[in-house]
Amino acid sequence: MNDCPSEKNHTLLNPKTLLRVTNAVHQTNTAAGPESDPNTNIWSFITTRSTSSWFLCISLFAVLIRLAVALHPYSGAHTPPMFGDYEAQRHWMEITVNLPVKDWYRNSTVNDLGYWGLDYPPLTAYQSYFHGILLEFFDPASVALFTSRGYESYIGKLLMRWTVLMSDLMIFFPAVLYFITVYYSGKTTGDRSNMAWHTLMILLNPCIILIDHGHFQYNCISLGLTLAAIAAILSDRNLVGSMLFCLALNHKQMSAYYAPAFFGYLLGKSVRRKNPILEILKLGFVVLCTFALVWWPYLHSMDASLEVLSRLAPFERGIYEDYVANFWCATSVVVKWKRLFSTQLLKLLSLTATVSACIPSMIQLIWSPTKRGFLQGLLNCSLSFYLFSFQVHEKSILLPLLPASFLALEEPFIFRWLMYNALLSMFPLLRRDGLVLPYAALYGLFILLYHAPGVRKDARKPDFYSSVLESSAFACSLFLHIIYLTITPPDKYPFLFEAVIMIFCFSQFVLSSIYLNTKQWALSKSSTQVDARKKSL
C-alpha cells in the first residue's frame, strides 16, 4: 500500500499551504490589473468585455425571460364576448389588413368601432398592418375579416407573442443600448463598472415584461422610441430626439406624459443658444413634418383628421376606470367625482391639476436644463400625469417607471420603491389575467438582480430609520398581496381589497412625487452654486 499517493493528496487538499501556492499562482497569472482580476468581482468575466459582448449576454437572458413569460395566458383568454387587449390588438390587425387606410378609424358596416375600435394614433395602425401581414402569411384564419373575432389558437397565440418579441428586439433593445452608451460616454471607469447592472435594470423591468409579454400590449415600441429620443437628446441630437419622440407620441398618445419634460428641456436649451428663435423653429419644423408624415392619409380633409382625433380621446369612458392608484380614483372613496361633476368640468379639473403638478418640474427644466434634471423631469412629469390626468389606466405606471429606471444608480431607493409599488398597483389586473405565477417570479427576479452579488457596492449605507420605514412598507405590501390572493372580500364591498391596494399605492406615489420634485429643485440650486463658484473663480 506504499505506492498509494492519496495520503499526499489528502494533505494537499485541505491545509493552508496549497492555498498559499494557488494564491501565488493567481497573482502571477492575473497581472492585467485589478479591473480584470476575476477574484475581485465574479462578474468581471462578462463586464470587462466589450459593450456589445455583455449587452448580447444580457439581451439573451432578457429574451429568455420574455419567452418564458409569453408561455402564460394573455388578457381575456377564453372569455367571450369581448375578450381583452390581446383580442383588441388582433382585431386591429384584422381591420388594417382587410380595409383601406381611410376606413380604419371610421365606423361602418365592416368596421364596428364598438368592438375594439382602433383608438391609438396612426403609427399603431401601421404597426398592426405590418404585423397583420405577417400573421396573414402564416395563419390567414387569424386575421380574416369578421370570422376571426375571438380567434384563439396555439399557432395564433405564438405568432402574436412573437410579433411583440420582434418589436421589443427591434426597438426597445437597441434603444437601451443607445441610451446606455450615451449615458456612460463621459463617465469614469468606476461608474462604468455599473453599466451592465444598469442595463439589466432597464431591460428586465418586470412591469414592462408582464404587460407586454404577459398581458399583451406593444408598450415596448412607444417606450423604446421615447428611450431612443431621450438618448438622442442627451447626446445633443435634439432634432433626431424630437422626431423620435413624435413617433412615440404617434404610437401611443400616452407618451404625452413625457411631453412637458421634453418641451421644457428643449426650450431651456434652445433659449441658451446663439439663435434661440432659429433653434425653436427648427424643432417646430421637425415636429410638424413628423406629424404630417404619420398622419398623411388623414390630412386630405379636416373631417378625416378630426375623426381620427376623436377616437384618440375617449372622454366618454370617464375620469378613471377600474382601480388605478391615482388621485381621482383614490379620493373617489370620499368624493364621488363621477356623480358630483359633469365630464366637462372633470376634464377642466383634471387638466388644471395635471398642469399645476407638472409646472414646477417644467419651470426647473427651462430655468436650468441639465441632463440629470431632464431625467428627473421626465419622471416627475409622467408621475404627475399618472396621478392627476383624465382616464388613466393601471398600465400607465409603466411610463413613470421608465425614467425611474434611468435613475437606478443615482436614486436607487426611489427606483426600487416605485418598482415595488408599481408592481403592487398592477397586481389586481395581472391576477385577473391569470398571471400570478409570472408576477411572483418576476418580482423575485427583480429583487435578485437588484441585489446581485458583487455588483454595485453602494457607498451610502441606508440609515436606521429609512431602512425600518422601508421594511415596514414592504411588509405591508406583502401582507396586501397575501390578503388579496387568499381572502374573499365581504359581499357588501366586493372591491374592498382593490381599493385598499390602490390607496396604499397612491400614498406611496404621492410621497415619491413630492420627494422627487424637491430633489429636482435641489439640483438647480446645486448647479447654480457651481455656476456661481465658477464665475467667482
Binding site: P38, R49, L67
Partner: protein, 520 residues
C-alpha cells in the same frame, strides 16, 4: 492571508443567488410543453398512493408502469402524501389517468424544482473544499445549476434528473474529501433511486476497494466488511419489503426491460448509430450488386420480435454484447483506478464510465448524456484542455437533447438557453484562461516568443467548423429540409442530429480515454 476566511464566508451565501435565479426561470417554465413522462410520474404518484406496496410493481392499470428502483417508488409515495391533499384526483389510480389539472401541473413541476435543492447543495459541496477562487466557484455553479440540459429535460420535458445528479455529485464530493464510506453510501442510495447509474459501479467498486479498504490485511478486510454491510443495508432497505412480499421477480422484470430494443425511438447519439448506418449502407449496396438480402422485419426501436434480427447484413447485437463492450471500454479506467486511486480523479473516472455506458449501452436515452456532462463541469476548469473539451461536449450533448422539444412554442426557448450557455461558458473560460506571455526577459527575443506564450482560451478553426456544422444541421433540419425535399425523407433531420452528435460524443470519449491514460 487574512482575507480568505472572510471572503469564504461571503461566498457561502452566494450559491443561493444562481440557484434562485434558476428557480425563477423554472417557475416561469411551468406552463410549457411536457412529455408523456409527466403522466408517467403522475401515474406513479397514484400507484404508490392507492395500492399496497406488494402491488406496486405488478400493477398494469396504466401503460406507464413503475420501472424505477424502490427508493424512487418511496419518493413518489412521499410526494403523493402531499399530492393527494393538493388534488385528490391526481392520486386516483383510475380517475387520474391522463389527468392534468392546473394544480396537478403546478404540484408536479414544483416538486421537481424543490428536489433540485439537492443539486444546489451538492454543487456547493463540490466546490467548498477545493481551492477555487470565487469566480471559479461561480462558473462551476453556473455550469451545473444553469445547465440548459437540466432545464430541457427536467423542467420542460419533465423528469427528476436534477436531484438524482445532485446525489451523484454529493457522492463524488465525499469521495474527493476522502470520506469514502459516506461517498459509497450515497452511491448505493443513488442506485436504489435509478439503476441506470449502475454503469459507474465498477469504477466505484475498484476505487473503494483500493482506496478505502487499505492499511494492511486486517484493517483492509475490516473496512471491506464495513462498506459491504453499509451497501447491503441500503439495498435491504430498498428491496427488503419487496423480498418479503415475494415481488423480486416483478421488480427486476420491470427494471430491466431488455425487450425494448437496441435504440430508443429517437436514436441516442451513440456508437450504435454508426453500426445501424453501416448495416443499411451494406444492405443497400449488396442489393444493388444483385445479392438477395431480406429486409429486416423487426425495427430497432420496437420490442424484440422472436428470432428475427433488425439487421439485414451485420450480426445482431444482444444485450450481452453491449454489456461486454461497455465493460471493455471502461477497463482502462479501472486499471488506472486500481493502480493509483486518487480522489481528485474520481469525477473524471465516473464521468468516463457513464460516457462508455452512453456510447455502447443497450437502449440508451439521449438524456443519459447528462450523467457525464454534469459531473464533468466540476473539472472543466482544471486546465485549458479540460475547458476546451467541456466546451464541445456540453454544446453537443445539449444540442442532442433538442429533438425532445419538438413544438414551436419551446423552439426559441431551447435555442436561447443553449446560446446563453455557450456565451457564458465562452466568456467564463476565456477569462479563466487568459493569454499569458512569459515574464522572463529572455523570452522577448523574437524566436522564442512563440514557444513561451500561452494563448488565451480559443476553440481554433477545427472547433469553429464543428460549431458551424452544428448550425448547418439545425438550419437544414428546421428550414431547408422542408423547402428542398418536401415530405420526402422525413427522418433525415433527426438522423443528421443523431449522427452529428454521435461524432461529437465519440470525440469526447476518445479525449477522455486519452486523458485518463496519460495523466498521472
Amino acid at each position: 492571508m487574512e482575507k480568505p476566511p472572510n471572503s469564504r464566508h461571503q461566498i457561502d451565501g452566494e450559491i443561493w443567488w444562481p440557484a434562485l435565479v434558476a428557480t425563477v426561470v423554472k417557475l416561469l417554465l411551468i406552463p410549457a410543453y411536457r412529455s408523456t413522462d409527466f403522466e408517467v410520474h403522475r401515474n406513479w404518484l397514484a400507484l404508490t398512493h392507492s395500492l399496497p406496496l406488494s402491488q406496486w410493481y405488478s400493477d398494469t392499470t396504466s401503460q406507464w408502469t413503475l420501472d424505477y428502483p424502490p427508493f424512487f417508488a418511496y419518493f413518489e409515495k412521499f410526494l403523493s402524501f402531499f399530492a393527494s391533499r393538493v388534488d385528490p384526483t391526481m392520486t386516483h389510480l383510475h380517475h387520474g389517468l391522463n389527468y392534468a389539472s392546473e394544480r396537478t401541473i403546478l404540484f408536479q413541476r414544483l416538486s421537481v424544482t424543490l428536489s433540485d435543492s439537492v443539486l444546489v447543495y451538492s454543487a456547493y459541496r463540490l466546490t467548498r473544499n477545493r481551492n477555487f477562487s470565487s469566480f471559479e466557484r461561480f462558473l462551476i455553479w453556473a455550469l451545473v445549476i444553469w445547465s440548459p440540459g437540466l432545464f430541457i429535460v427536467d423542467h420542460l420535458h419533465f423528469q427528476y434528473n436534477g436531484f438524482l445528479l445532485g446525489m451523484l455529485l454529493l457522492s463524488i464530493s465525499f469521495l474527493e474529501e476522502g470520506k469514502d464510506l459516506v461517498g459509497g453510501f450515497f452511491f448505493a442510495v443513488l442506485l436504489c433511486f435509478k439503476h441506470l447509474f449502475a454503469v459507474a459501479a465498477p469504477v466505484y467498486f475498484v476505487y473503494l476497494f483500493r482506496h478505502y479498504c487499505r492499511g494492511g490485511l486486517v484493517k483492509g478486510f475490516g473496512r471491506l466488511v464495513l462498506i459491504g454491510s453499509v451497501v447491503l443495508v441500503v439495498f435491504a432497505a430498498a428491496y427488503g419489503p419487496f423480498l418479503y412480499y415475494g415481488q423480486m421477480q416483478e421488480v427486476f422484470r420491470r427494471m430491466f426491460p431488455f425487450g425494448r430494443g437496441l435504440c430508443h425511438a429517437y436514436w441516442a447519439p451513440n456508437f450504435w448509430v454508426f453500426y445501424i448506418m453501416l448495416d443499411k449502407f451494406l444492405a443497400f449496396w449488396l442489393v444493388k450488386l444483385g445479392f438477395n438480402i431480406q429486409a429486416p422485419k423487426a425495427s430497432f426501436t420496437g420490442g424484440l420480435v422472436g428470432d428475427s434480427s433488425p439487421f439485414a447484413v451485420l450480426p445482431t447485437i444482444t444485450p450481452l454484447i453491449t454489456f461486454i463492450t461497455v465493460l471493455l471500454a471502461i477497463s482502462p479506467c479501472l486499471v488506472k483506478a486500481w493502480r493509483n486511486p486518487q480522489p481528485r480523479m474520481v469525477s473524471k473516472w465516473v464521468s468516463y464510465a457513464y460516457t462508455c455506458g452512453f456510447l455502447f449501452g443497450w437502449h440508451v436515452h439521449e438524456k443519459a448524456s447528462l450523467h457525464f456532462v454534469i459531473p464533468l463541469a466540476s473539472t472543466a476548469l482544471t486546465s485549458m484542455e479540460d475547458a476546451k473539451h467541456y466546451f464541445f461536449l456540453s454544446i453537443v450533448s445539449f444540442y442532442s437533447l433538442f429533438p425532445l422539444l419538438f413544438e414551436a412554442q419551446e423552439y426559441p426557448i431551447k435555442v436561447v438557453l443553449l446560446l446563453l450557455h455557450t456565451i457564458l461558458m465562452f466568456f467564463g473560460f476565456s477569462s479563466r484562461f487568459p493569454a499569458r506571455s512569459a515574464t522572463t526577459a529572455g523570452a522577448v527575443v523574437k524566436g522564442r516568443d512563440k514557444t513561451s506564450e500561452t494563448p488565451a482560451f480559443h476553440i481554433g478553426w477545427f472547433g469553429k467548423s464543428c460549431l458551424f456544422g452544428l448550425l448547418f444541421v439545425e438550419i437544414w433540419g428546421q428550414f431547408v429540409h422542408r423547402m428542398v425535399l418536401g415530405d420526402r425523407l422525413p427522418f433525415l433531420p433527426l438522423m443528421m442530429i443523431s449522427i452529428y452528435c454521435a461524432l461529437g460524443m465519440i470525440y469526447s470519449w476518445i479525449w477522455q480515454l486519452r486523458h485518463i491514460i496519460l495523466i498521472h
